[in-house]
């Protein structure tokens, strides 16, 4: 199986009384809470952590896009991916992803992803999320009634921009361009870089992923127990559509904290986990449901299946109502897997097999976790857990993984060595 190291890049210094004094971590979070000089250190720590994960042999490093968000400091994940392209060599670069309807014109995504693919020698995974209501409709002012149609059209445009050989005119409902002809073009051109779709639990998204042969990713913050219903729904739908159960059709996000013992893990990871589930997910409910964001089919499914309402709808309000904020509930709920290496191995194997997920995206940094603790978590997982779970799904071929240039043909990237001028 593939073990991927995901960073959300949370602002790590939200005050303790944040939830009491501020209505939301997202959309209208106050600028006075942001210290750019502290963010300088956060960004550099986070990028060190991503590079460290690449050095330790994780299959991919993952970044994503959020706007006006106190737990996601990457309005442009492409900037981070571009830096990682130079500071890593063999690790896949998973940009999870660019919210297509937010780019005008969307060919910008085709271009920037092609740049990352070229710089990295063909290591890009291209994620295309619709984007959350907070990011798209509120922070970016997109019309919720038009968002999905714009997203789908932008997808068509980006894909054509990657694959058509000649300059073409795009005559869309929302985008019209007389001359589409992107330079550069992606290295992965057979037919294009792998496309992964992070989505909620809507049947429409599952069907679309199956039809387009894309990887479906369920990026919930609520762990494998809450994710089970959704992933079962996904696999049931694949079966109906006559698709095989290749676990590499799917991706799943899971928080993990590993230490020498379970108690040590609790000692180390309680504060960052409670910081994340408390402060980082403190989102004002008024930003949860812009009308039209959730399709009527999904609304209908959500109303009809009260049993699985939490996991089965793309409604952010129902997701938010799920949340526990103290460590006992966080761990009991499966949001964060904690334990000794062997305990974590057992749980990861259970998650992977019960959800049948070949691409496991791990959050080993969360909340206000320090760089030292993050590196410890990352190293211990790489050394003691990874070798005991890598064998899973060995019989299946991952047809959705990047196909980079041969190593021998790739540019040698020298390590960064600042020239110090002798002052003496």
């Amino acid at each position: 199986m593939k073990l991927m190291w995901f960073h959300l890049m949370p602002y790590t210094e939200l005050p303790e009384d944040f939830n009491r004094k501020h209505p939301s971590v997202w959309v209208d979070i106050h600028s006075s809470l942001f210290d750019p000089k502290r963010a300088h250190h956060m960004y550099n720590d986070f990028m060190d952590e991503l590079e460290y994960a690449a050095e330790l042999g994780y299959d991919a490093v993952c970044v994503n896009e959020h706007h006006s968000n106190g737990y996601g400091l990457m309005p442009s994940p492409n900037l981070i991916a571009s830096s990682l392209a130079r500071r890593t060599t063999d690790t896949a670069l998973c940009v999870m992803g660019n919210s297509l309807a937010l780019y005008n014109p969307p060919t910008r995504v085709a271009e920037e992803f092609a740049m990352i693919d070229c710089i990295s020698g063909g290591r890009l995974i291209a994620g295309f999320p619709v984007g959350s209501p907070m990011d798209t409709c509120y922070a970016y002012g997109q019309n919720p009634s038009l968002l999905r149609e714009r997203y789908l059209e932008a997808h068509d445009l980006v894909k054509r921009a990657w694959t058509e050989k000649d300059t073409f005119a795009f005559n869309g409902r929302y985008n019209q361009q007389r001359y589409v002809n992107i330079w550069p073009r992606p290295i992965q051109n057979d037919p294009h870089p792998p496309i992964w779709i992070p989505g909620g639990g809507s049947v429409e998204t599952w069907r679309w992923c199956a039809e387009m042969d894309y990887v479906y990713c369920y990026l919930s913050y609520y762990g494998y127990k809450a994710g089970l219903t959704t992933m079962q729904g996904f696999w049931n739908e694949m079966e109906k559509l006559g698709k095989d159960r290749n676990p590499y059709r799917a991706g799943f996000l899971q928080f993990v904290g590993v230490a020498e013992s379970r108690q040590q893990a609790l000692d180390l990871y309680t504060e960052p986990a409670e910081y994340f589930y408390g402060r980082c997910l403190h989102v004002d409910a008024r930003f949860a449901t812009p009308p039209g964001y959730t399709t009527e089919a999904t609304q209908r499914a959500g109303i009809q299946s009260m049993v699985s309402k939490a996991a089965n709808t793309a409604s952010y309000s129902s997701k938010l109502s799920l949340k526990a904020t103290n460590m006992k509930d966080i761990v009991d709920g499966g949001y964060v897997i904690v334990g000794s290496p062997d305990e974590v191995v057992e749980q990861i194997r259970h998650v992977a097999t019960s959800l049948n997920v070949g691409h496991l995206m791990l959050l080993l940094q969360y909340g206000n976790m320090s760089k030292d603790t993050t590196k410890y978590n990352t190293r211990l997982f790489a050394e003691k857990v990874m070798p005991k779970v890598k064998d899973l799904f060995g019989d299946w071929e991952d047809k959705w993984w990047p196909k980079p240039m041969d190593k021998g043909q790739r540019a040698a990237v020298p390590a960064f060595r600042p020239q110090t001028v002798a002052a003496e």
Binding site: C137, Y138, N143, S145, L146, Y174, G292, R300
Partner: protein, 263 residues
């Protein structure tokens, strides 16, 4: 009083419900946020003196087809089809909230279609110095108090009637909100100020003194803009103890003012 007569007209291949009631000269009503999930006491007051025709707008209860409409021109042309199809061409027209913005557009762009115009807290303008509230970013418990001076009036409008489909009803209510968002997201600003000067129909502007969505001061901006403020074409009246959907809070007072203006 008898129930309104229901007919259906076709707009871009989608059905739009038209409710008609009363007798006397025809007048049209384009409803505000939430649309017309049910017949209203306000419309009964009007129907005592006039033939009231209340077409549903695309996406609001009783109609679909909002998803066909991408641009503001698409919306205005749909309104033209609705006004023609409902037999309202040349009649008096009253529009409220989102429906008020469309009524104003009709009077500006198709002046022969609107005899006299009444606007109840219409959308269409935005003032950076005095922000309108965001009707699409509100907690459920706060929304009723923003829509009406007495939130119970909003709750009554959107409550599922006995026998309503418990799955489809909430979806319809969300669709009405989506239809409004589709035309007015994110600020409610359709640059209507550019066209207000074209309105020559005598216009009454009504505004609830407790409108928590659109500040009552916006009434003056409409009055200044309509017919470029010439010849007192527009008159402003404040409705006491009324919120954004003043016709729900004060049906009698609003109906009286409208009927007086149309007389």
């Amino acid at each position: 009083m008898p129930e309104p007569v229901t007919t259906t007209i076709d707009v871009n291949g989608h059905p739009c419900r038209v409710w008609t009631k009363g007798s006397g000269p025809r007048m049209g009503f384009l409803a505000g946020l939430g649309g017309l999930p049910r017949w209203l006491p306000f419309l009964d007051r009007l129907a005592e003196r006039r033939t009231v025709i209340a077409p549903s707008l695309p996406g609001y209860p009783g109609a679909t087809g909002h998803t066909e409409l991408d641009t503001h021109l698409d919306w205005i042309l749909a309104m033209r089809q609705i006004v023609d199809g409902a037999g309202l061409a040349g009649a008096d027209l009253v529009g409220a909230s989102v429906g008020g913005a469309f009524a104003a557009e009709m009077a500006a762009i198709f002046p022969g279609h609107v005899r006299r115009l009444a606007l109840i807290a219409p959308f269409g303008l935005f003032d950076d110095q005095e922000l309108a509230a965001d009707p699409w970013a509100q907690r459920k418990d706060v929304l009723p108090g923003l829509m009406c001076a007495d939130g119970a009036n909003w709750n009554e409008l959107v409550a599922a009637p006995e026998g309503a489909n418990s799955v489809e009803w909430p979806i319809e209510m969300t669709r009405a909100s989506e239809a409004a968002a589709r035309a007015f997201w994110p600020l409610g600003n359709t640059r209507l100020e550019k066209r207000l000067g074209l309105i020559s129909a005598p216009t009454l502007i009504l505004w609830g003194d407790r409108d928590a969505i659109l500040p009552p001061s916006y009434a003056g901006k409409f009055a200044q803009g309509i017919n470029n403020g010439i010849n007192g074409a527009a008159r402003v009246e404040t409705v006491e103890n009324a919120g954004h959907l003043a016709y729900l809070d004060q049906p009698d007072a609003v109906a009286r003012a409208v009927l007086g203006h149309f007389a």
